[in-house]
């Protein structure tokens, strides 16, 4: 029952998150924190999987109908989707995208099953410090070279700031406290919630405000049979997109963005003038990549996306470790016996919501942007206070929120994901690097 609640909540949150531009999975996770606090490890994983999958489905709807990217990985859908809308066949675009998303998800499950059963006895290799060292080096490289239009200087500053903020409190290497400057509260470290609100939510509120209103042009009614028939003739594009998307989804930092764009570029070369095939390829890659991107976290405990890094911190608070389920075989069992069945259900619901009900969910976009901004703003202030009270330091949380919100406003034109990555993983990375030089 609890698992069903986690999945249904994830579906609801993911549906809204995908439709409203500016609210990504990261912001959704932050806003839902009070509901996630009582959840155990499995429920948290199911919630995250549901949100992340639904966003891939519903993010396509505003992209195709209105040319607004719901998520950063929706850009190919914007380009090719609007071509469909201009021709009055947006429903075809939405339909084939939804079906492609399901194919992408299922191909990802099959690929995972094949690889994991082959690799299961060797996965312990990833527990090695040297392997972790190189994985974290890759994560840092991507933090430096992917975000903020590859502006390394900016990304370096953000990474350094994240690391510095992670230092106060307890170290992972020795008992005792550091960098507390005589302030008792710093013994517990800088809290995550005000930092996330300040550096992620506040800048996003500005983005939501700046989005212009759009109107949907008149569209033809296209039946299910037509969509299914059209999709079946383009199955090869879906399969190609799924495979490309799956492997690109494993690349830290860029995951689904790379999945979508790599698959889109490949399909463009193969089928130059077929926008439906290009749309299908990018959308299948999206879902396939989404599933693949969760694997490093599930199997070896290393998050590779911004939203996963927040999930990671929640999982740790819920008592999770990669060895939680006795051994790696149990982790694989967890994926296939407890996550995949729900994943299939989420995909079925995703198709229904993103295809036949697409026009209904677009109504979310008609809500006044200022209203959305005010509501989210109030929610996060109350949320910060609530989490502060649970953590027995509401005043400190309020103070941190004011400071980080000011910083967030100043940095609003930059992507602050590298800062968040380094803040959450800072101590872990420090430990891995220290041991690497010791061993």
């Amino acid at each position: 029952m609890e698992q069903l609640f986690a999945v249904m909540l994830g579906i609801a949150v993911g549906t809204v998150t995908g439709v409203i531009p500016g609210i990504g999975v990261v912001v959704a996770m932050i806003i839902c924190t009070p509901l996630l606090l009582p959840m155990d490890v499995l429920e948290l994983l199911l919630f995250y999987m549901s949100v992340a999958s639904m966003v891939q489905f519903t993010g396509t709807v505003p992209s195709v109908y209105l040319g607004i990217p719901g998520e950063t990985n929706s850009l190919p859908a914007v380009i090719e989707g609007t071509k469909h809308t201009k021709k009055g066949i947006a429903q075809l675009g939405i339909g084939v995208s939804a079906l492609g998303s399901v194919v992408g998800s299922m191909v990802a499950v099959i690929l995972t099953w094949v690889f994991l059963h082959y690799l299961s006895s060797h996965l312990v290799f990833f527990f090695n410090n040297t392997v972790k060292f190189f994985i974290y080096c890759t994560v840092i490289m991507f933090c430096l070279f992917v975000y903020n239009k590859k502006n390394i200087a900016i990304n370096l500053c953000l990474c350094a700031l994240g690391i510095l903020l992670s230092f106060p409190g307890e170290s992972d290497l020795y008992p005792g406290f550091r960098f507390t400057f005589g302030i008792d509260d710093l013994k517990y470290g800088i809290p995550l919630m005000p930092l996330l609100i300040g550096f992620i939510v506040v800048p996003n509120l500005f983005k939501i405000k700046s989005i212009k209103d759009h109107k949907i042009s008149k569209q033809m009614r296209i039946g299910f049979n037509v969509v299914i028939k059209s999709f079946s003739t383009k199955l090869s594009s879906a399969l190609r997109g799924s495979i490309v998307g799956y492997f690109c989804g494993l690349v830290p930092g860029v995951t689904t963005v790379l999945s979508t764009n790599a698959s889109y570029s490949l399909e463009k070369k193969i089928n130059k003038n077929n926008s439906t095939k290009q749309l299908i390829a990018s959308e299948t890659a999206n879902n396939s990549g989404q599933f693949a991107s969760m694997l490093p976290l599930l199997l070896i405990g290393i998050p590779i996306t911004g939203s996963e890094v927040i999930l990671y911190s929640m999982l740790i608070d819920a008592g999770w470790s990669p060895f939680q389920f006795s051994n790696l075989t149990s982790n694989i069992d967890l994926i296939f016996k407890q996550i995949v069945p729900w994943f299939v259900l989420v995909n079925i619901i995703g198709v229904v919501i993103a295809w036949p009900l697409s026009k209904i969910i677009l109504k979310v976009l008609t809500v006044d942007k200022s209203f959305i901004v005010i509501v989210i703003g109030l929610i996060v202030i109350i949320l910060n206070l609530y989490i502060g009270m649970i953590d027995y330091r509401p005043l400190a949380y309020t103070l941190y929120l004011i400071i980080f919100s000011c910083c967030g406003i100043l940095l609003r034109q930059y992507e602050t994901v590298p800062l968040i990555f380094m803040f959450i993983l800072g101590n872990e990375i420090e430990g891995v690097f220290f041991r690497q030089f010791l061993l």
């Binding site: 312990v124 290497l173 008592g319 470790s321 060895f323 027995y392 430990g431 061993l439």
Partner: protein
């Protein structure tokens, strides 16, 4: 009428005696032993009629600070190894009961003889590195000590091939042996535990070895009454099942004085 009033007064009086108020602090994260123990204490105390306020802090440092600041009756599951890094040591005023003891284990993927003379040893950051180095020296090895965050990370380290030896607690050492990737060749306690011989039986060790002792500490309470109640709770099915499953050493007949001296002395070894 007078009888009714008398009855009401008696009821109120009885309730106030039975329903002793106590704040129970959880200092562990879900899935950990502190969390599991605190939940069992919570159920046990509630069944005995205590009015329990459960403070689920989940972080040791914050929990210890909270314990220090609470004015009313308060108790917390504790372990002797915490004393080295936290501000609270076991005293005659706060010590209530010893729940269980467990030795610490040296585990490796190879036999001791096949290990090189210079070995790398993974240990949890709460353990005293000097003490571990002494133990390794006593068994004829020169150790490079590699710190890890906690016992799970130490287990990963030995499985991942980072180090030659892991110095770890009983539950993670059991898990390690169950993987079939190696074995534990000695522990810091006495006799055979979980099929592993003690280090003192195998090597000439002339200094005291540390063991982990799980206790309960409290303040502003009648500690002797609380000790009696906790003894009842520890004898209940839930705790017996928990201790048996983890193969923990319990000694229900140990007197307060004797138990306190053992805990108090053991703490010095962790500093």
């Amino acid at each position: 009428m007078n009888r009714i009033i008398l009855l009401i007064v008696a009821c109120v009086f009885t309730t106030s005696i039975v329903a002793s108020e106590i704040t129970l602090i959880n200092n562990g994260k879900p899935g950990g032993s502190s969390d599991a123990r605190t939940k069992l204490y919570h159920d046990g105390l509630t069944n005995l009629g205590y009015d329990v306020t459960y403070e689920n802090i989940g972080k040791l440092t914050q929990a210890v600070d909270f314990f220090s600041k609470v004015d009313g009756p308060v108790m917390m599951a504790y372990v002797n190894i915490f004393a080295s890094s936290q501000n609270i040591v076991h005293t005659k005023e706060n010590y209530v009961i010893t729940e269980y003891m467990q030795p610490l284990y040296l585990c490796a993927t190879q036999t001791v003889k096949s290990l090189p003379n210079e070995v790398t040893v993974a240990y949890g950051k709460s353990y005293n590195p000097l003490m571990i180095a002494n133990i390794l020296q006593a068994i004829g090895k020169e150790a490079t000590l590699v710190p890890y965050k906690n016992s799970s990370a130490v287990l990963e380290a030995i499985l991942g091939g980072d180090v030659h030896i892991a110095f770890n607690n009983q539950s993670k050492s059991l898990k390690f042996m169950k993987t079939g990737k190696g074995t534990c060749f000695g522990h810091t306690g006495e006799g055979m535990v979980i099929g592993v011989p003690s280090l003192t039986d195998q090597y000439a060790i002339d200094f005291e070895l540390p063991i982990m002792i799980a206790t309960v500490i409290a303040k502003n309470t009648d500690n002797m009454q609380l000790r009696k109640d906790l003894t009842k709770i520890l004898a209940g099915n839930d705790f017996v099942e928990y201790h048996t499953k983890q193969q923990l050493i319990t000694n229900a007949n140990q007197g307060w004085d004797e138990a306190f001296v053992i805990v108090h002395d053991s703490e010095k070894l962790w500093k």
